[in-house]
Subunit: 387 residues, 2 copies
Amino acid sequence: MAFSGLSKRIRELPKSNFPAIIKMAEEDKSIISLGIGEPDFPAPKKVKAALKNAVDKNFTHYSPTGGRHELQEAIAKKLKKENKIRVEDIHSQIIATSGSSEAIMMAIMGIVDVGEELLVPNPGFLTYRPTVELIDAVPVSYNLHSEDGFQIHVEEIKKLCTPKTQGIIVNTPSNPTGTVLKKKVLEELADLAIQKNIIIISDEAYEHLVYDNAKHLSMGSLNGMEEHVLSLFSFSKSYAMPGFRLGYAVGPERLVKAMQQFHLYTTLSPNTMSQIAGITALSKCGKDIEKMRNEYNKRRKILIKGIQEIDGLEIEVAPEGAFYLFPKITNGMSSEQASKALIQKAKVLTAPGNEFGTQGEGFLRMSYATALPKIKEAIERMKKNFH
Amino acid sequence: MAFSGLSKRIRELPKSNFPAIIKMAEEDKSIISLGIGEPDFPAPKKVKAALKNAVDKNFTHYSPTGGRHELQEAIAKKLKKENKIRVEDIHSQIIATSGSSEAIMMAIMGIVDVGEELLVPNPGFLTYRPTVELIDAVPVSYNLHSEDGFQIHVEEIKKLCTPKTQGIIVNTPSNPTGTVLKKKVLEELADLAIQKNIIIISDEAYEHLVYDNAKHLSMGSLNGMEEHVLSLFSFSKSYAMPGFRLGYAVGPERLVKAMQQFHLYTTLSPNTMSQIAGITALSKCGKDIEKMRNEYNKRRKILIKGIQEIDGLEIEVAPEGAFYLFPKITNGMSSEQASKALIQKAKVLTAPGNEFGTQGEGFLRMSYATALPKIKEAIERMKKNFH
């Protein structure tokens, strides 16, 4: 067959409504957006200064495919201190990536072959499933349930494992549900990974954004998991650096070294100046993170309370992480209908839950990465105009 | 089969000697490197100032998946003026990428399915072939010959086309040979693409680096090619901005729009601040480019003359583009042997030609992106110590 214009893989990409949603919010300035998963804070001052200093010092050249050594070393220190993940060979087990989205793609390509299976959460972050499909592998959904706050049922996962299963994507704190997975669940998942000899891709992009009594636990810190977890981290969320396109992965040497080699065929490395700024973010911005987290927590509490007063929306278990709530729609509307009604009548932008998988149908995702006065106004509008 | 540790696709990546070569040059400071394809110049001053200004103005947030609109518009102006490529719908036909290496990967994934074929130059840039293999498609080499300065023989390409052929990668000016393809060759390729209904991926990363009477011609400017060329450009080479990780692609709307959607699953967008700096590079740095080009040309002439005086190396046709020479080894050594001899005896680093494909065996790649005194010293060392 001659050139058909596009590969099947790209023709069959899911039709996301997100770009259209973002466009609506941009065009009508009266709309309050709870739709986007992006910090409203600018990058920390120290990070900005570090970036400018890097430019002045002409760090405008290529970097190694694993990332700059001094960044890898700063990452190893942070992993040890904050995540209790120990790294034996820093330069072989850590790779800096162009955002953790690149790490997700490289991890999937590094683990799964054509026709093989990867377990993905449903509802779950919207790139997991299509990325698996893009390389002609098979994403298999594991369902999450609102009744118990979208915790993972490891027994259900066990039943989904087949001889073709290569791994499981685990995301805590979760986008879109805000769920922080419990220690017991993560330990059961670890046992399963060892028993089945598969790998966990642990997406921890929201690691610092946990509230009240919740604690973030990295699966890479659990006993016996050295060969069974690839952990992914991001500077985009808790460090408020999405425009820097910087993330990283840590895991078994054989996998990470292969990803470093593979990096030649994707982006070579993340932006060199961003990498230098990333060192400052990791080592000197604890207070900035704390300040933003406190602010998110304030907003979270107010938004939870507000939603409880809106007819037609319900939160069964209040989520303790990320910057999302995932309320259930109780007035009979579908996710699309509810989202459209809120845009048109209340001028509040939310993400339809079905964007995140079939199990998200009947829910909305609301982000509280928006200034408090706007959140308060959005609540008032939704109270009056959700029908 | 349970988790084997790594996907077959990643286990079978070619073993590149490049990282080892780079390491050698780093460890022994007495080695002069003609091995690396990176400008020795820092980024232009105006570009650096623009980047710092972008940071000050808090351009630290996400960008659209096609790239920032103001960057797309600056790219369209540049394409019209410098490349004679006309773009009907700027925001749908242009995508900014994290270096042109990301554009290469996205283009290949966007065009070729499992089992389908893509024609790639041999010798050619070292990512083409593995990137096609990574997605379980089939790279088919078209051979280039030193006798006629590595021009493409379109008759030979015609014979390689099968019903599975989806496209052809064309790279001018060429890495590794430095060849600037002739207008006649490009016109014949254009006719072939239309006749066979396939697409040209035109990698023009070295577009500005042509010398003496050579002219760079973009296939996207040829009549009737609107639907048959995806043109790739980079800021890494002629703008001396490799650390910014910024490139772009322009082509048929259906393909570029799909790539924009696909960008969600790779890196979302290039670094936001780099994009702002890129606007300055495109619109205000003509003199910087001219200055660097003149400097490269000086070095090129001296290196060509020097090589002609080295026993065991020969240049059949002097290349007129990029910043590479690709001399033939005439003393019976293989590429590997010659490269090792030059490192050990002359302390000069070159890239073995076979890194760029089987047709590169018996050649060396030498980069003149190195200061003139070093090039002169390297020539003297090679004259005395190549045996």
